[in-house]
Amino acid sequence: MKKYAYNEITLMQFICILSGVQLSVGLLALPQRLAQRAGTDGWIGLLLIWVFTVIANLIIVRVMSSYPQGTMMDLLTHYCGRWVGKIAAVLLALYFFLYGYVGITRTILYVKQWLLPQTSTFQIMLLLLIPTYTVARNGLRIVGRYAELVFFISLWIPFAYLLPLQDAQWLYLLPVLKEGWLPILSAAEIAFLSFSGIGITMVLYPFLLHKRQAFAGVAISNTVSMLVFLMISLICFVYFSPSEIKEYNEPVVNVLKNIEFKFIERIEVVFISFYLFMFSLSWIPTFHASAFCVSWMLGKPDHRNPLRVIWLILAAGTLLFMPSFTQNDMMGRWLSKIAFGFEDAIPVCLLIYLWTKKE
């Protein structure tokens, strides 16, 4: 019996949600962070962490496939009992909420810095939350369609990034492996946050139309994310001089500041506004997943009430506390540690557990 029928998502939607969660707010600062750790060799770190993430993600899918009709919570209930499932639901709900929270607050900080410096954070939060609610209150299929839409309307962005290449200085990339492998490993660690978010597979899996496609899906989505990260980082590395790139907080935006068209100046403003679509994928699916976990725990089929509670917490919370850039960075660092636990350590343990149980 299919528990989650009528809300199945296609492979394309699965890929778009997963890549969307990964390719979000971390993107703008990524080249600068890589450069801090490993100079222009930082891109090698991306490749390393990509291999690592694909493997981790395949492990998650492998674990999920042992109970294909349910989410991670159903799986844990089936194998370990009801209470383990409930605890897992609470933890996952908190994790997804934190993930979305870091994403939405970072977006607000960007909006404030680049677009609306004098508008209050509370107003920006409300403006972002309204579409969030209208998308996330529906089933996963709508979230999937939204992710697909965002993917297609963002397809032109990579082409705009080819424009700064006329000022590029490819010599900046040489020599490869300037200082050996150690800085590259350290850059890989910083790139880990950008690649996190694959944990959402634990909730998405039962909704996927053809379960056999899950392996291909996670491989493709991680590769898409990797290619985008790689392209953006390389463009920033050849455009800015190696010591200059460390001076910018969001080199991905600054790289566009020099583009001049006859009809528009300060093109980066258009981009930041457009990026809001992409960034929204870091919190819409995760808040949806968070609300889903809560409603699962309460045993109710409708996830809208938990979503409304999340909505209110966020709206009211912004009045009381809004993280600054440094605090947001710190939360991001915590998040990447937590993500390591949820997305890498626990699935591996589960996989071993399931194997031993079978034997």
């Binding site: 810095q113 680049w114 609306l116 410096p117 004098q118 508008t119 209050s120 107003q123 409300l126 403006l127 309204i130 209208t134 000022d167 200085q169 010599l171 900046y172 990339l173 040489l174 020599p175 300037k178 800015f240 001089s241 190696p242 010591s243 200059e244 001076e247 600054n254 500041k257 020099n258 001049e260 100046e265 300060r266």
Partner: protein, 376 residues
């Protein structure tokens, strides 16, 4: 009923919120400075200048100029604001002018922090050094020429297309200043004897952003060739040795345009004290435009190519000697040194200009005549 309530509430909330764009600035209330100027005043205090277009019918003069003394740009803004009808904003600068006296100070670039920190400011303004007190050019207002910023910007854009000056904007200058293996170069203008604005060529700065020396337009062409940055064709005139001059004419001249140049730079470091060797091979395809002395081009093409190559080589060597004397690297040879001889470069990267001044740089020019024109 209940179904309608939520959308209506949402709509009301949205309309309520949208009035909150407090950042809006109406065009009528904005004054849009197009030029940003920075110079040292007589008492060695920085002075900021700006010029903005005036859109009123009643005023005869099309621009307004303001100057303000203040320790920082941001501080001067209030003072400049007091002179104009609208709110001063830095969103539309076209050119950034700097006086030569200011440029002779070290670390003046740090004063520009606001331009990079305040994300509203443009960074694509052309950087131009003015040879003289900046007030001379800001308040010049020539009757027969377009607005100063438009004139200067056009000058830099078209002349850099012909490689007669560099096209350095603020972002590019930022990049060059932060690059240890290269020193910045910016456009230079001055007033000639009749008080007309004239493009002078290129000013070369050192690692700290301090003015070192200038190149005229023909030297700048050579510099751009060395940088491998010649996009369209550049025009070069040479004096042929051995040909009589025949005063008052200069009948020893030959002019040509580069159709295509390709510069290859090779870096070798000798182990002996980490000295750098650069082999620069320049391949040029040219078309002749002007030959003032009699020459049998059709039959003696290889000889002419050889002669021109040797002459060009001398010119390049002269330029490189000048660069080395001043311990700067506008060509960006340091980038090659870092890319191919990283270990040795790292040892000297804090003073790359000095390391380059003792480097061994050899230029080899290979000229090929593509077209000699419709006459023999």
């Amino acid at each position: 009923m209940n179904k309608l309530l939520l959308p209506i509430l949402l709509l009301a909330a949205t309309t309520g919120l949208l009035t909150g764009c407090a950042d809006r600035l109406d065009m009528e209330n904005a004054s849009i400075p197009l030029t940003l100027g920075l110079d040292l005043g007589q008492d060695n205090e920085p002075v900021m200048y700006s010029t903005f277009p005036v859109f009123t019918k009643n005023s005869k003069k099309k621009t307004q100029e303001t100057s303000a003394r203040a320790r920082t740009f941001r501080q001067s803004r209030a003072e400049q604001d007091a002179h104009s009808a609208g709110v001063f904003s830095g969103r539309n600068y076209q050119v950034f002018l700097i006086g030569k006296r200011m440029l002779e100070q070290e670390n003046w670039f740090q004063m520009l922090d606001v331009i990079f920190r305040d994300s509203k400011n443009t960074v694509s303004d052309r950087v131009i050094v003015f040879d003289g007190p900046l007030a001379d050019i800001i308040y010049l207002n020539p009757k027969d020429q377009p607005l100063l910023p438009i004139l200067l910007r056009g000058m830099v854009d078209t002349k850099s297309g012909k490689s007669e000056t560099v096209n350095t904007n603020l972002q590019e200058l930022h990049r060059q200043l932060f690059e240890s293996g290269m020193t910045p170069s910016i456009s230079e203008v001055r007033l000639d004897a009749k008080k007309n604005i004239k493009l002078n060529g290129t000013a070369l700065l050192n690692h700290q952003g301090k003015y070192v020396t200038s190149l005229d337009t023909s030297e700048t062409v050579l510099l751009r060739i060395l940088q491998n940055k010649v996009k369209k064709s550049a025009s070069i005139t040479l004096s042929m040795p051995g040909e009589p001059e025949q005063k008052p004419f200069h009948l020893d001249k030959i002019s040509f345009a580069t159709d295509q140049t390709r510069t290859e730079t090779k870096t070798i470091t000798s182990t002996h004290q980490g000295e750098f060797h650069f082999d620069i091979i320049i391949k040029m395809k040219i078309s002749l435009f002007e030959v003032l002395f009699p020459y049998d081009i059709e039959n003696k093409t290889p000889e002419l190519e050889q002669l021109l190559s040797e002459e060009m080589q001398k010119q390049f060597e002269k330029l490189i000697k000048k660069i080395q004397q001043h311990a700067i690297d506008p060509v960006g040879l340091g980038l090659h040194a870092r890319a191919f001889e990283y270990k040795e470069y790292k040892a000297v990267k804090n003073d790359w200009g000095k390391a380059l001044s003792s480097a061994d740089i050899r230029v080899q020019v290979k000229i090929k005549i593509d077209a000699m024109g419709p006459v023999k």
